[in-house]
């Protein structure tokens, strides 16, 4: 059984990484798209405070283009950490979705810290017994249960909303309910494991040590093993669903919503436009097809109305 748990863990990590990469690569392999930005765009510096852009200046293409990283961070951090858009536009949902997301962030932080202490342990230091590492160990013991419980509370709240709000229920499908139940179960088992099997997370740390050092030594109880299995399934499953928005949001914001980079002195963009204009067009409507024009460049420089007028002459 222990070996199986380790194999599942390795596999889950591989699936997670592969699924994340697959989505990112698919996105990046798409051709150039037209600009479709939405204001306010936070990297517009001072203008961003009222939703303004560089297009507010006459002769904007002659000015040096300045973008503000501080502005971007000022918009990104509250959005990522506190779900600002939901807070501003859907407060009743925020009350449940915020603890859910924040609980997950805390859980990720908890796993990160646990991993760090596992590496320290691998270097020969007894983490549990170390006086200097006591605050870190205490922090881990605090963050773990906090993350689990917040996530459970949020997920139950979301489930309740999905079931009772007719607007949300109309758009929910089996996957929504399954996902929420999965989080409630996984985190519920994590709480039970913490309460009854591994209150110090020493077992969890040892599991990570074994994992890193490729030693498939037998671990813990049934509850602990169940927790690992559920956690691994969840990790592998998330990027296969719409929940992949947790990393794809970066592209949706930076490349689309805030993607206001003008095509000025950007030969790379011109090159990409050259490529797409040579793509074949197969739309069937009569104003596009049937004129012997095959590529976007040919179709877009052809005037069907002028041609039909000529035909009448």
């Amino acid at each position: 059984m222990s070996t199986f748990i380790y194999i599942v863990t390795y596999l889950a990590i591989v699936v997670f990484v592969a699924a994340v990469l697959r989505r990112i690569i698919h996105y990046l392999k798409n051709p150039i798209h037209v600009r479709w930005e939405l204001y306010p765009v936070p990297h517009e510096g001072k203008k961003a405070s009222y939703g303004g852009s560089y297009l507010e200046d006459s002769g904007w293409w002659e000015q040096e283009r300045k973008t503000s990283l501080v502005g971007t961070l000022k918009a990104m951090i509250p959005e990522m950490l506190f779900l600002k858009a939901v807070w501003e536009n859907n407060r009743p949902l925020w009350v449940v979705t915020f603890p859910f997301h924040f609980g997950l962030y805390i859980t990720v932080g908890f796993i990160g810290l646990l991993g760090l202490t596992a590496i320290i342990q691998l270097s020969g230091i007894d983490v549990a017994g170390s006086h200097r590492l006591k605050p870190v160990v205490a922090l881990i013991s605090f963050l773990g249960p906090l993350g689990f419980i917040l996530t459970i509370m949020g997920a139950i709240g979301l489930l309740y909303k999905r079931l009772t709000d007719p607007g949300l229920r109309n758009y929910a499908n089996f996957e929504h309910y399954f996902n929420l139940c999965l989080f409630i179960t996984t985190m519920g088992v994590a709480v039970l494991t913490w309460l009854f099997v591994d209150p110090t997370f020493n077992l969890a740390r040892q599991f990570l040590v074994n994992l890193i050092s490729l030693k498939m030594t037998a671990i813990g109880s049934f509850l602990f093993q169940l927790q690992v299995l559920l956690a691994m399934f969840t990790i592998a499953y998330i990027p296969l669903t719409h929940m992949s928005h947790f990393f794809m949001k970066w592209f949706l914001y930076h490349d689309i919503r805030w993607g206001d980079e003008p095509n000025i002195n950007t030969p790379e963009t011109d090159k990409k436009i050259g490529i797409v204009l040579n793509y074949p067009v197969t739309w069937s409507a009569s104003h596009i097809s049937g004129h012997g024009k095959e590529t976007w460049a040919e179709v877009a420089t052809f005037n069907p109305a002028a041609e039909s007028e000529k035909g009448k002459e």
Binding site: S53, V86, G167, H242, Y253, V299, A300, A306
Partner: protein
């Protein structure tokens, strides 16, 4: 719970006479005594020829299938178009945005309350921004992407001719104002989906609205303008405007045409020439007074900035943008400046930015920064007292939310209009006028009724609230709406509710306010006359 609120996604496929209906009692109440009446019945000819099974309106004329084969063909053509929509070759322009919206929407409905149509209709489910998207997404997942377990994972849908017809019609129950997209925590875009559906119908099925296509973009490609004015007629008309307004204002001016090497090629929405000649004249007077080197062009499509492709068809969009850029190149101007037309602003400045090939790249900018610079420069003498009446500013979505041009217009009205007041919300968070994405030019069937009762309702509420301290017929009021489409919508809705008489309410552009305050011009450029 109201019947309409219980509309399910799968109801879209039902073999029923109508999917939904918004009654007068459902409508959002606003601070005015509006004499709204029930929907006028669609003309018999429309009902006989086209599918009218969504609600009480018909905007997209989809020919009625007469046989089972016709029904199947409608579905097959749609699905074929949908497949093409998800290929990079046919849809490189928007594929990335479309795919991400299909994949990452959390179905949280955070976007719902941002939509003025959802609110105005009394939260009719069909108007929820995500409703049409969800129908579209389910079809995509089940029939195009063929996702394993799609029924369970993404929800089921029955793809029949009713689904296709209603989806097409629903794509024309959205102003594509993207206010919903602005509130989405993920970055998904329901407005885009409405436009993509319109594209399938136009680019694959050859079905679109006559106003946008035959009388719109095709007419522009044929004669040079959707107004049908060819180059001789347009030059004649502008010459007439020059003479007429020179006489009326006491300010002699002449609009230059086809000046090679001018600094600026100004492109107006040619609809202004017919409907609001005072806007054309005002631009000419301001530019002449400021000593600007500028010209209009009489080349095909270059004297009309409209680009209706933005609303429904990428190919038509590209064709028009290319003609306009080519005209600028031919004249050798330093830049194109767009007149007061929102969609034209976005089309040529932003969207065309990654469509125009290298040889056609010419700098393009909005008229507002240069107008602001002129007003602030001191080159022209103004008397703001001439504008001493309540003024509010409508923000065209294309110029503000989609381009971030917020402050230049405000600098002008703050300087020239002592009684300026904002609408709330404004700037990038504004509400659409209700005419956005093509409706402002539609008066077929009972479309105007829809524009008044639902699409324009929120804007009307905003306007009335902005003037809450001076309501009634005793105070003249002005809504500055620097966009031809928005002006068309405001004109019609003010007219419908008799607001000139009841509220002394008129509308116009920003250049009219500038000229109205010019000391060298006879007073009274802006008039409170019949719209």
């Amino acid at each position: 719970m109201k019947k309409n609120k219980m509309l399910k996604i799968t109801d879209v496929s039902k073999d029923s006479e109508k999917l939904t209906s918004v009654s007068i009692d459902d409508l959002m109440s606003i601070p005015a005594d509006l004499d709204d009446i029930d929907w006028a019945e669609l003309p018999e000819e429309t009902r006989e020829k086209y599918i009218c099974i969504l609600d009480d309106v018909n905007i997209l004329p989809i020919p009625k299938p007469l046989t089972t084969k016709d029904e199947e063909e409608l579905v097959n053509k749609f699905i074929e178009g949908m497949r093409k929509l998800f290929t990079k070759e046919n849809n490189w322009t928007f594929l990335t945005m479309l795919e991400t919206t299909m994949e990452h929407c959390a179905k949280c409905n955070t976007c719902s309350d941002s939509c003025h149509l959802f609110e105005a209709s009394g939260e009719n489910e069909m108007y929820r921004p995500n409703y049409r998207t969800e129908v579209f997404r389910r079809i995509y997942k089940k029939y195009v992407q063929k996702e394993p377990l799609a029924r369970w994972r993404s929800g089921d849908i029955d793809l029949n001719w009713q689904t296709v017809a209603r989806l097409g019609e629903m794509a024309y129950r959205c102003n594509i104002c993207r206010r919903c997209a602005q509130t989405c925590p993920i970055g998904a875009d329901n407005a885009l989906v409405a436009r993509e559906i319109r594209k399938i119908f136009s680019q694959e099925m050859g079905i679109t609205t006559p106003e946008l296509h035959d009388k719109g973009s095709m007419m522009q490609l044929k004669t040079g303008s959707s107004t049908q004015m060819n180059k001789i007629v347009v030059k004649d008309n502008v010459e007439f405007i020059d003479e007429d307004f020179s006489e009326e204002t006491g300010y002699e001016f002449e609009t230059p045409w086809d000046v090679e090497g001018a600094d600026i090629l100004l492109i107006h929405n040619a609809g202004e020439i017919m409907a609001w000649p005072e806007n054309i004249a005002a631009f000419s007077m301001i530019f002449q007074a400021a000593g600007i080197s500028w010209t209009l062009s009489s080349e095909l499509a270059a004297y009309d900035s409209i680009n209706y492709g933005v609303f429904y068809d990428d190919v038509q969009f590209a064709r028009t943008a290319i003609l306009q850029a080519q005209a600028a190149k031919n004249l050798g101007v330093k830049k194109i400046v767009l007149g007061e037309c929102g969609h034209a602003h976005k089309a040529l400045t932003v969207i065309a930015d990654r469509v125009l090939p290298e040889p056609l790249k010419v700098p393009r900018e909005s008229c507002f920064p240069i107008l602001r610079d002129i007003v602030m420069s001191g080159k022209i003498k103004f008397d703001p007292e001439r504008n001493n009446f309540p003024v509010t500013l409508h923000d065209p979505c294309n110029i503000t939310r989609l381009m971030g041009i917020i402050k230049p217009q405000r600098d002008i009205v703050h300087k020239l209009c002592p009684q300026f007041r904002e609408m709330h919300p404004h700037g990038p968070y504004n509400y659409c006028c209700g005419g956005g994405s093509g409706y402002a030019i539609m008066s077929r069937n009972n479309i105007p009724e829809w524009r008044f009762k639902i699409a324009g309702r929120k804007k009307l509420e905003q306007v009335l609230n902005a003037f809450s301290d001076c309501r009634g017929p005793d105070t003249k009021k002005y809504v500055c709406a620097p966009c031809s489409n928005c002006k068309g919508q405001l004109r019609d809705i003010f007219d419908r509710y008799n607001l000139l008489e009841a509220e002394q309410l008129t509308y116009g552009g920003i250049v009219e306010l500038i000229v109205n305050a010019m000391v060298d011009v006879n007073p009274g450029y802006i008039k409170w006359e019949e719209y």
